[in-house]
């Protein structure tokens, strides 16, 4: 069971298959114990702002958020906007993982201050590689301001 207070990766993904494959990749690289998965935009917000169903969670932000765009309840873009509007969460790196590479999506997310925009490759190997590389990059390589 993941300790909710030491989450380093917040995975926001509504598709169970994609979520499972991502977790599998991270698990293979020993990053799985630091991942928390939520399945819609509202849960993501609740988690980040310690409200709603996650009200009891101690304050502590993940080191990176993998965010899918097409989410039920609250859309990915809305979540991104909320993250960037709050000073507690503004600095958290957000990586959008999505299947769509429509130009309009890319522009919208960069307008809202996304750090990366990754298109989920169909080829599983590439997808795995992408997840792992991202995990390592944001958790290990990339330096962030101390909270």
């Amino acid at each position: 069971m993941t300790d909710m207070d030491s989450i380093e990766i917040l995975l926001v993904e509504d598709n169970p298959n994609d979520a499972e494959l991502a977790l599998r990749a991270l698990r293979k690289n020993n990053l799985a114990n630091k991942v928390f998965t939520v399945h819609d935009g509202q849960q993501a917000l609740d988690f980040l702002f310690c409200q709603g169903i996650y009200e009891g969670r101690k304050n502590g932000s993940p080191k990176v958020i993998f965010l899918d765009l097409k989410l039920p309840k609250v859309d990915g873009l809305e979540v991104l906007r909320a993250i960037r509007s709050d000073e507690h969460t503004r600095h958290i790196p957000v990586v959008v993982l999505t299947s769509s590479q429509e130009e309009q999506d890319i522009v919208a997310t960069y307008e809202l201050g996304v750090n990366s925009f990754i298109v989920k490759p169909i080829d599983f190997n590439n997808f795995m590689k992408a997840i792992v590389e991202l995990g390592f990059y944001w958790l290990v390589l990339n330096k962030q301001p101390q909270e």
Binding site: N17, D18, E102
Partner: protein, 487 residues
């Protein structure tokens, strides 16, 4: 379209009657003017003639008067001489003697056109001769026998009768002339009256003509205005319909775009599951399977990948049809240089030689034209994979009204017999085992080039490379370009 049809015919009818009326009116006006001119000329002529005649008659009358007074003067001078015996009284008589002949000649000339007058002149001539002769003889008598002789001569010679003859002839001639003058004057008057009548008639005609032209023109203008209004209304309704249609097309376009968007997103997710989990099985349980089982799983994964590429290509193709074309001058040399650089970077491990010449600029959408080169050059790179050293040449040549661009490679080539299939969607001339690809790349190239008003074609030989050509019209032939069309 009925409305348009009757509008067109109406216009023709208007044209016909207006033109005819105008011709008729102008013709009549010209006739009237000619008539008036002619009349003016003729009446002036007759005025002049008349005045000549009047002058002539006056001349004749004057001549007659002078003749008579000359003779009378001669007579009285002779009398004076007879009374006084003073030769100085004979001045007028001598003058009369001298001049009578001249006067007669004048009269003869003046009345040359009138036979009656001519006859009278003869008579006058005779009468004058008699009279003058008597006067002379009387003087002679006086010179011989003095007053008594002269007196006797006078009483017996019939001098009075002679003079009366003269006076009579002169009177007759005068009467004739006066009569002629009267006749001519009456004629002139009546002709003047008739001229005035004709003038008035012509004026009336002219006035009616003007009236007719006026009403005709007004009616014509009214018809014209109405026709114009009809045309304007038609134009407006047409424009409105075009606007409506355009709005409809735009809505359809947007719907298509939304559809493509969801297709791209929703179709990929299950593919990821297929690919991902088949790989997962391979990885985690591959050792529990035999080689065949592992191969099956591999094929499953590949199938998913292929489908993914298909989806991408289809979406590209559909986007190519929908997008609005930009119109600008495109630097083709810089464009191809960029694409070549990218391909070189992506294929660092291979030995590819790009021979890039300067290309003439083109008018069109630079993003779309870039896609053309990306597809053609990617194909060239792909189909030269079997070559040790791949040679890819990019060039151009100018032809009448267009520039032809070409990409030539020394790769696998193709069988010219199937050349017509090259540019079809999903048409492939090589099996999937030889060369990867979904077969949409060239279809996209053709679509883009056609939208720019150009043509595509290719030449190749199996195992001896292929050259792909496309032409683009020169001189901003925007009329040839086809704007975003829904297929």
């Amino acid at each position: 379209m009925r409305k348009g049809g009757s509008g067109f015919m109406l216009k023709n009818k208007i044209k016909w009657s207006a033109e005819r009326l105008l011709q008729l009116g102008v013709g009549l006006a010209l006739l009237i003017l000619a008539g008036v001119g002619l009349l003016a000329y003729r009446s002036t002529e007759s005025l002049i003639d008349n005045s000549h005649l009047v002058a002539h008659t006056q001349e004749v009358l004057a001549e007659l008067k002078t003749t008579l007074s000359r003779v009378a003067a001669g007579e009285s001078s002779q009398r004076g001489y007879l009374l006084t015996g003073d030769a100085s009284y004979l001045g007028p008589y001598h003058l009369a003697v001298q001049e009578v002949g001249n006067h007669l000649n004048s009269l003869r000339t003046l009345t040359a056109d009138n036979p009656r007058q001519q006859a009278r002149v003869v008579g006058l001539d005779a009468a004058l001769k008699t009279r003058m002769d008597l006067l002379e003889r009387c003087i002679k008598q006086y010179e011989i026998g003095g007053i008594p002789a002269a007196q006797h001569f006078l009483l017996t010679s019939g001098g009075k009768q002679a003079m009366e003859n003269v006076t009579q002839q002169v009177g007759a001639m005068e009467a004739e002339e006066r009569n002629l003058l009267a006749i001519r004057t009456r004629d002139a008057e009546s002709s003047a009256h008739s001229t005035v009548a004709v003038y008035l008639t012509l004026l009336a005609l002219g006035f009616l003509l003007l009236l007719a032209l006026y009403t005709g023109t007004r009616r014509h203008i009214a018809q014209r205005t109405q026709a114009e209004a009809t045309v304007r209304a038609l134009n407006n309704s047409l424009e409105q319909r075009v606007a409506e249609r355009t709005a409809q097309l735009q809505v359809a376009n947007k719907e298509l775009e939304a559809f493509s968007y969801s297709v791209s997103h929703d179709l990929r997710a299950p593919l990821r599951a297929v690919s991902g989990f088949s790989s997962a099985v391979l990885e985690d349980y591959g050792d529990k399977l035999d080689a065949e089982g592992r191969r099956y799983l591999d094929l499953i994964g590949k199938g998913a990948q292929d489908m993914g590429r298909l989806i991408d290509d289809l979406l590209s193709f559909s986007r190519m049809n929908r997008l609005q074309m930009e119109h600008s001058t495109v630097d083709m040399t810089a464009l191809t240089r960029g694409v070549v650089a990218e391909l070189s970077r992506a294929n660092e491990k291979r030995h590819i030689e790009f021979d890039l010449s300067d290309l003439p600029p083109a008018t069109g959408d630079s993003a779309m034209l870039r896609q053309v080169f990306v597809n053609l050059l990617s194909n060239a790179v792909k189909f030269t994979a079997t070559r040790e050293a791949a040679c890819i040449k990019i060039g151009s040549r100018a032809e009448a009204g267009e520039n032809v661009y070409l990409v030539a490679d020394n790769g696998a080539g193709f069988d010219m017999r199937h050349a017509n299939k090259l540019f079809g969607v999903f048409q492939r001339l090589h099996s999937a085992s030889e060369f990867d690809g979904t077969g949409v790349g060239l279809a996209i190239v053709q679509r883009i080039v056609h939208r720019h008003g150009g043509r595509v074609w290719a030449e190749g030989q199996v195992d001896h490379g292929a050259t792909f050509y496309f032409s683009l019209p020169t001189g901003g032939a925007s009329t040839k370009m086809v704007e975003g069309a829904i297929q």
